[in-house]
Subunit: 131 residues, 2 copies
DNA sequence: GTCCGTGCAAAGCGTTTGCACTGTC
DNA sequence: GACAGTGCAAACGCTTTGCACGGAC
């Protein structure tokens, strides 16, 4: 457990949110000069392998958060980019259905759902903006 | 509607499956020599805009299928890569819950769910293979 | 001396863009 | 001549990899 690795894990804990590799890289640079983005990726990979970090798909890349938050899913607003969490059990019925109907063992541990958050949705409705 | 565009749409219809831009590119090359991957992307973009093609997130890129298949979702097996479809209404209860609990308007029109298909799942259990 | 972790630069992959060519109106 | 569609090459953003250095055992 090197300073770089410790720091990456600390950042993920202290932010308690979902960060891209680059977010983490930017934050690290405030603490240790000369850190490299490749170290960030390598460390995130390692930490994911150790089960300390969870990696989720996000747009053209990935977002990471620490594993101790408990199981949850991400509701990503396509308008404002805000990421909300939803509890794991919201997806449990779906999981069961996929298992029963399709024999498919869904991996919903770190799932990303796109859509529109309440705020943006009401804004859209109010302004009648044509998409 | 140029030959290239017609062909891309035809490929998506004839395959009736989910293809990456590169899959399509490879298939096109069998019919028209000298087609460029950028034309594929541009055309897919255009067809998506016209509502003829649906684009979904997939690993580090995207998959495309034609729009006439009706609403469904993709169950992507992480072991064998196979893509199954599941009906739209499997996700309706989830959609309702996200709306009620979080005010989140989920866009589940072309959603990708990762996991393990029945075949691979039973194989894994049988072989006790350590991951 | 061997190993592991690292910084650095380069490569990789999927995707997008600038530009010049071609054909159509 | 204006325009749209294209091929080509170069660029892009995110991620991975090869290699050499440096510190721990």
């Amino acid at each position: 457990m090197t300073p770089q690795r410790r720091l990456i894990l600390d950042i993920l804990h202290s932010q308690n949110s979902h960060l891209t590799a680059d977010d983490i890289y930017e934050k690290i640079k405030n603490h240790i000069a000369g850190v490299n983005i490749s170290t960030v990726y390598r460390t995130l990979d390692l930490l994911e392998g150790l089960g300390l970090v969870v990696k989720s798909e996000y747009e053209n890349g990935h977002i990471y958060h620490h594993a101790e938050e408990g199981r949850h899913h991400h509701l990503v607003c396509q308008e404002c980019g805000q990421i909300q969490e939803c509890t794991e059990n919201s997806l449990l019925p779906l999981s069961l259905e996929l298992k029963q109907k399709y024999g498919f063992e869904a991996d919903l541990h770190h799932h990303v759902i796109s859509g529109t958050c309440a705020k943006c949705h009401s804004a859209t409705k109010t302004h009648h903006h044509t998409d």
